[in-house]
Amino acid sequence: MEHVVKALQEIVGPENVSDAKPICEAYVTRAIMDVSSKAPAIVVRPKSVEEIQAVLKLANEKKIPVVPHSGGLSGGEATPTREGSILLDLRRMNKIIEVNTNARYMVVEPGVTSAQAWKHMQENHPEYRPGIPDGAPPSATIVGDHLDRGFHFLSTKYGPAADAVLGLEVVLPTGEVVRTGAGALPTAKWFYRWMFGPDLTGLFLGSQGTLGVVTKMAVKIFPMPKLRDVTAFGASDWKYLIEPCLEVLKTESIDLAQGGNYHLATTRRARYQWPPIPKPKVLPTVWMNFELGAESKEELENVKKRINEILKRYQSQYGEANLFEWKLDVRNIVARLTKPNRISVPYAGHKGGGLLFITWYMPWQDSGTFCEAAEKLMTKYKVSPVVWLAAVDHGRQALVMPIVLFDPKSPEEFKTVEALDQEMTEQFLSMGGIPYRPNLKAHAPMAMSKSLGYYDLLKRIKLAVDPNGIMHPGRLRLSEEEEKA
């Protein structure tokens, strides 16, 4: 590898390349989106598109795996699956290139964090806000979250973060630079996701770094409402929560709807107690928050009134003990409405540190069944049954996210996590769910093998774009070789 290091140093400068073991090991993250994570052999910190082109050309020539890494907040998903990889740490590329408040988009480099984007908008264009993740720390990057189809704080209203992408600049594995969307034409602005032909922007979204390195991304920005508030439903069981919430979501007036079971709140302080602590009186068994935004008091009150009418209608059917308004105190409301939020990692606390999000998409009306199934399965594996639920695109889809907490010091607990994930994947696939960010061992192979022509097409695309298979090999299992492995 010594000659490769030398060549890379010539491209990006010696201070931006390291093959030192302690440097490389510090990028490992066996948590968050995947517990499989290997240290890279070399870390490279490029500053420009040209440097990335040169690195990818070299890697192609030498057939060395390359893994792009912006904020690293996808954890195991953003680190190599193979020994001997080059990790591209993209944090030096952190410029906000353009903000257009008429066409309402911003163009950013991969190292721009949510915090940076939020503050930039607040200081320069306070009437608009970027779509930043809800529940990930503000160290998460705009590019990472949108590229990974993340859940941002307006996803209930506008869909997954990827839906807000209006165009990309990508360095392909072979070193060529392509632009997608209207930005593909040098004379056009980044105002439109489509060019002629199919949606090539979408090709890269969700690709988990397997098709190239995104060097610019145009994303929508959204109006900042004058007034905001939160209201919440509590229920004694999932079956009393889902349908009333769907009715609320169908009004298409909710900014963000997300909730979960009481373990979501109690497990932060009760880790590794088994069985889990009983439900505290102050918490409902399950709940759903609705974050609201409006331009006037009247508009806000009207939305609340509609929500309340739906609540009353279902209360008469279910009884007030089974469905009720959960009165949040001011502190809770302020905490919910403060963006960016800091509530990202409350579960990785004392005596543990292991955390894996296993997230699934399904139609909203089925989400209660998935939540219940997740709780049962986690209980079977003696894992605290922490489940988070959120609505996407006005409840056309739901996200069910079992949050698996484990002790990373214990190899046995890693095995438990993997076994749980495997069984949950089998069950959830049979129930009609789809994995949100398919991980290496369970989701990708099982979901891919069942797809109707989708997997074959994806593999053909991968082969065409990345003939030597250098980009993040192992992710999505996009080659015959990986399938066999």
Binding site: A20, K21, P22, A31, G75, D89, T113, Q116, P137, A348
Partner: protein, 409 residues
Amino acid sequence: MTYLEKFKEDAYNCLHCRLCTFTWAWPNEKGIWPKGSFQPTCPSGEKYKFEAYFGGGKSWLARAVLEGRVDIKDPAIVDILFACPTCGSCQQQCTLEEPEVGYHHRIMSLIEALRADCVKAGSGLPGKQKAFGVHISKEHNPYMELHKDRLSWLPSDIKLPEKAETVYYVGCTSAYRQKELAKATVEAFKKANVDFTILKDEWCCSSPLLRTGQWETSWVSAKDVAQHNVNEAQKTGANTIVTTCSGCYRAWKKDYTEEYKDLLNANHNFQVLHTTELLENLLKNGELQPKSSVKMRVTYHDPCHLGRHMGTYDPPRNLLKAIPDIEFVEMPRTRENAWCCGSGGGVKSGYPDWAVEISVERVKEAEQLGVEAIVSACPFCERNLSDAIGKYGSKLKVYDVVELLIKAL
């Protein structure tokens, strides 16, 4: 058994969320984030950029060491561990805590334990760090000065009793480098009629040794050093130790009695106060009355060892505000979010140029406020900020709070 083993939980508790990489200052009532929020906070990470230099990266590196994938003797680990002023900002920003069981993620302890393992393995200690360790064992100070000169700053007309209620623990930096501060402190104590004395045979507080992993070596023993000081202080019959140096303050108040209690076996029952705490008490009791005008627009730099390490933020500010005509303004990165001056954790001796570089960033931050002076409450900060001003060619002046206060008494 390695020193790191004790902090295994902390190594594994890090999720790698990167919250440790920037400041967090909560928004105001209108939801506007202040200037000091989301700003660079880690001098080491900002300089060297690779993940290993940030707090989270160090936690995952510790895991690799514990799991045998990284050798503590790997030469590449030295800069990662030692090019860090252990300012504690990563730990401050980290949200891993369980107040109910008194737990907060201990990145700082983790770094110091890794350093001690590194030194134990015969590695580490860049620049002059080992040399000052050796010198502490011989002359009881890290400045290559002679022990016999330790009290050369003390004006000959000042006579101190053998026994007193309070010991003014001068510290090496004030004794050998910032002598004006030592004089000003004595003057302030005299004016306020404080019943105090100075140790006849004061040694280094041991903080430089603890911070650089020189815990139990063949050339110096942090335990011997700490125990000597406690024994000397006990001879005076005092009940209170007062320090002007924030590093000494942490050593006496936290390292001797909590953090390194087992290692040092130098536990004591003294009340430990920083000079600013004692003077603030005197101010509140009316025993100290700043009357003379000091017309100056100033800002305050929080020393890491006083602020983030010990949670003391208000006494120095209250003293400044009590000085007639002082105009006091805060820097954007202040209190818990203060940018480090760069001198601590062995950086001044291990990486002297970079230490000043860190301080230049702080000086520039202060300059933007249009102030005449940057005030601190630690001679080590004062010294490094002065070096930065000299190198950068700034017109700012640097004072310790006590030095300004004395002008008003």
